[in-house]
Amino acid sequence: MRLLVSYVFPRLLQWAVVIVVGVTVAFAVPRLSPTQPVDQMLGRMSGMTATDPAAVASLRSAIIAMYGLQGTPLEQYGRFWQHLLRGDLGPSLTAFPTPVTEMIWQALPWTIGLLGISTILSWLLGLALGTLSAYRPHALWSRLLANGMVTIYPIPYFILALVLVLVFAYYVPLFPLVGGASGPPGLSLDYLGSIVWHAFLPALSLVLVLTAFRFLVARALASGVLSSDAVTFAETAGIPRRRIVSRYVMRNSMLPQITDLGLQIGAMFEGALITEVAFSYPGIGYRLFTAILQSDYNLILGVTLFSVVGIATAALLIDFAYPLFDPRVRYQ
């Protein structure tokens, strides 16, 4: 009970405050920008079709009311919380009347699927290979691996993505140029296979860069642990090397990486814009990008809400879970 009062409840309150402040900032910032979504819409319309200037003013008022943008920003803010508490984020201003929640739920699975798998895979690969490489720094495989990772890491991501597209979608057209799947959606093997086929190149690009980063960090951390007294003592005590690496070196060096993994998973809700653009792959990043460009207030707010909740919750869970990973940590 003492733990709940002294740590858990305050930490939960902090979590809630972070979300409210984050959402409030996300509500205010687009409205402070000079871009006005209804003006943009009218601009696009007047450039395309016959319109009477005398009719435009009344059309503008009608659209503002239809999109729920009437009233002062404070009144709009009040309405936003009323709707949010009912689970309603309002309609998208660029895809009216589609609800923002529908647009997010439509895009999010692709992002979670791609980023979730590639993040965890690269985390595991980087951690394991980095630790092993630190333990055997002079082995040929270790030096080759380290040189490879050092070469990949500084390559700008969009260059790497471009090269992969050119090589594997043009010169050797093994993978598709566009989209997340082919054919009629369903539980058929063809369709599921097409999801993997479409995701392969973007996932490969992410795994390459993320693994390189994780490898270099893991190698550096493991090198520090290897020089510790505990490892020297274990070696002196004759404990097998495999056991030293898996039980002592890897476990001790992975602790900061767990924090990073948690935050990275929380940040998935922001999407991977460059990946989505470079590989023409669906996801939440491009949706947020176009929402920002077109001042789709509701969609910006919806994606930001998911992102703020994702990161704040990841941080909260890491804090709560840390004693499980590190028995030295106590909430006393």
């Binding site: 006005q36 395309m48 319109t51 200037p53 435009v56 009344s58 589609t98 439509q106 699975p109 082919s182």
Partner: protein, 659 residues
């Protein structure tokens, strides 16, 4: 074995808990992702796979029966065909499934009767317009198109504020009456000889609603109209839930559509619109013959595509390749509520300080037509404005230091032609050919005259050759430009170089499209590198383009021009122009006086240098003839190749298999 810790029940160790958690997470993430993928992927109607499908296409359709079209942008939302909603995507879709009464072809200027069998008939004072509808047209569900549909469409829009055309109908229409199954009479609130323009497509025009479908809609503003009952030659077939593609199938009764009746050709069995993304993806797709037509590329991407792919071409087979006849103009807009741009002499000085031949060649690759008018130099309008007014241009003079100076330079196309030859392109010396390729003339490059104009107005140069304003402050100018509009951006960079060389401290501010637009709307700029034309349709009458520039729609700085329905971002007020617009308002566009008044307006615009037009639009509308041929090209320019316009339906309808 470890001891139980805080919050963990006895019997489950910390290591057990972590291990099981990781295992569960490893299963949950791919599992939930897959489940969510599938739940997000509701489909339309699957299409039968055939042996001739293309591996690069996302749907299984017979490639030799499918026209693959560049979708231009990715749809944020699918399964919504309420195209009266301001945010529903319209390019290409509206030509395939929607229809309207009339079209004006952007290439030829030809009037096309579509759902109406004849031109509109007005009464003497233009307060009534009678429409006679074509017979034999049917919706895709077999219901005949009738006068009820037209009357219902207008009445529904009038009762649905917020939808496109709703306010226009409220402002204009007093009543609409069906006389018989084929005849509808509009009664207007005020005389309007151009009311039919709402039903005459340039890019689009009022789409007809199927009364038997829409009358069941609870709220037309949120009605998705999905799947749409089509009045075009195609019906919706399938869609990518992520908005990358849409598939359409030709109607069996395509001959009961106006696209079929006008084009007299069945068109491809399927049309697949497909968003590939940036130029790089489009070039790869077309090189792989997985894209049959695309909207545009930048010059460098087009050259990459053209080289080594003999089946690919744009409008011309040779230089200057690109399609030059879209009705739009690039221009520099001066904010005329800000000094010194409110001074006509300053605007003329800036024009004379530019070397357009250098801009058109070095920055635009020589592939555009120059125009001194805010009217595009296209075949349907050159003969009505540029050529008839060239003698006026040659006589036009401006006062420079008390002397009349003639600024027009008729040799501009010759100099561009010389540049093209020197660059290895095959260009004729014939002046009519040069006019056709590069337009008529433009303003002389005369920095000495520009200097005199500025000096006359109190400008001075400092010791380093930089211009100072009449109040002694340095002249610093910012040009706003949107990099995604490549030609406008390149022109901004070119003007920056040239005006800097002339002694002005110029900066180009790059903005994303919407902030760029908004800065124009509220007047937050010195100079904008932008686009727009006085001729939104290929007809001689310029009222539609001129009217939003009437002073009554002037928006003060800080107030959006959009709230006034105006395109006057430059914020000028010209009583002379107002008088001509007022006269034109009551003149029928079919009256010869409409052309005369429109020419007067163009002269006033040009003399006062209200804007500084540079070149007409060009687009590398590019086709691959591997699977389909018959696209309009310069050697059979019988219709517009702008497939994304509503009138592009006829081009789509006319393509034929190559094999």
């Amino acid at each position: 074995m470890s001891e139980p810790r805080d919050g963990i029940r006895p019997g489950l160790t910390r290591r057990d808990f972590v291990g099981r958690g990781v295992a569960l997470g490893g299963l949950l993430i791919p599992g939930t992702s897959l489940a969510a993928f599938l739940s997000a992927c509701e489909s339309g109607h699957p299409v039968q796979e055939t042996a001739r499908t293309s591996a690069q296409l996302p749907v299984n359709v017979p490639r030799d029966k499918t026209l693959v079209i560049d979708q231009i942008f990715r749809y944020s939302v699918t399964k919504n065909f309420n195209m009266y909603s301001p945010t529903t995507p319209s390019p290409t879709r509206h030509g395939l499934v929607m229809d309207t009464l009339w079209y004006i072809d952007q290439q030829t200027g030809q009037w096309i009767n579509a759902l109406a069998s004849d031109k509109p008939a007005y009464n003497a004072d233009f307060t009534q317009m009678t429409v006679t509808l074509r017979s034999g047209v049917a919706w895709s569900d077999g219901v005949p198109f009738s006068a009820d549909d037209l009357a219902f469409t207008v009445q529904t829009l009038m009762a649905s504020p917020g939808l496109i055309w709703s306010s226009d109908m409220q402002v204009n229409v007093k009543g609409i009456a069906k006389q018989d199954e084929r005849t509808v009479v509009f009664t207007l609130k005020k005389p309007n000889p151009r009311f039919h323009l709402y039903f005459t497509s340039a890019y689009n025009a009022m789409y007809m609603m199927a009364k038997h479908v829409w009358e069941k809609a609870a709220d037309p503003r949120t009605f998705p109209n999905f799947p749409p009952v089509s009045l075009g030659a195609y019906t919706f077939q399938d869609v990518d839930p992520n908005g990358y593609w849409e598939l359409y199938k030709r109607r069996d009764d395509w001959q009961k559509t106006t696209a079929g009746m006008v084009a007299q050709n069945p068109g491809p069995d399927y049309v697949l619109t497909l968003f590939y993304g940036d130029d790089q993806h489009k070039v790869i797709a077309m090189k792989q013959h997985a894209l049959d037509v695309l909207i545009d590329l930048n010059t460098e991407a087009f050259q990459t595509l053209r080289k080594g792919t003999s089946s690919v071409s744009s409008w011309y087979n040779d230089f200057p390749w690109a399609y030059p006849n879209e009705l739009n103009v690039r221009f520099f807009g001066f904010n005329q509520t800000r000094a010194p741009y409110d001074n006509r002499d300053v605007r003329w000085a800036l024009a004379l300080a530019l070397d357009l031949v250098s801009l058109q060649t070095n920055y635009e690759g020589g592939v555009t037509r120059v125009t001194p008018f805010q009217v595009p130099a296209v075949p349907s309008l050159i003969g009505k404005y540029h050529l008839p007014l060239e003698s006026w241009l040659q006589q036009l003079s401006i006062d420079v230091d008390g002397q009349a100076y003639k600024p027009y330079d008729a040799d501009v196309p010759k100099r561009i032609g010389s540049w093209a030859k020197a660059s290895g392109h095959n260009v004729s010396d014939s002046i009519s050919q040069l006019h056709q390729l590069f337009g008529i003339g433009w303003w002389k490059h005369a920095p000495d005259m520009a200097t005199k104009l500025l000096t006359k107005n109190g400008f001075k140069k400092d010791g380093s050759g930089k211009w100072q304003l009449p109040d002694g402050k340095p002249w610093a100018m910012t040009i706003i430009a949107a990099p995604d509009e490549a030609d406008a951006y390149r022109l901004a960079l070119g003007a920056q170089d040239q005006w800097k060389k002339f002694g002005i401290d110029v900066t180009v501010q790059s903005l994303e499209r919407d902030p760029f637009n908004q800065r124009q709307y509220v007047g937050d700029f010195d100079v904008t590198s932008t686009w727009g034309a006085l001729a939104p349709t290929a007809i001689a009458d310029l009222w539609q383009g001129l009217n939003p520039f009437h002073s009554r729609y002037f928006a003060p700085i800080g107030q959006s021009t959009q709230a006034q329905g105006s395109n006057n971002w430059m914020r000028f007020r010209s009583p002379e122009l107002d008088r001509v617009i007022d006269q034109l308002t009551g003149t029928s566009p079919d009256n010869a006086a409409a052309l005369d008044l429109s020419q007067q307006a163009v002269k006033i615009w040009t003399e006062q240098m209200l804007t500084l037009p540079t070149v007409s639009f060009k687009k590398f509308v590019t086709t691959d003839s591997t699977w389909w041929t018959g696209w309009p090209k310069s050697d059979h320019a019988d219709r517009q190749p702008l497939y994304w316009f509503m009138g592009g339906r006829f081009a789509v309808q006319k393509v034929v298999p190559a094999k």
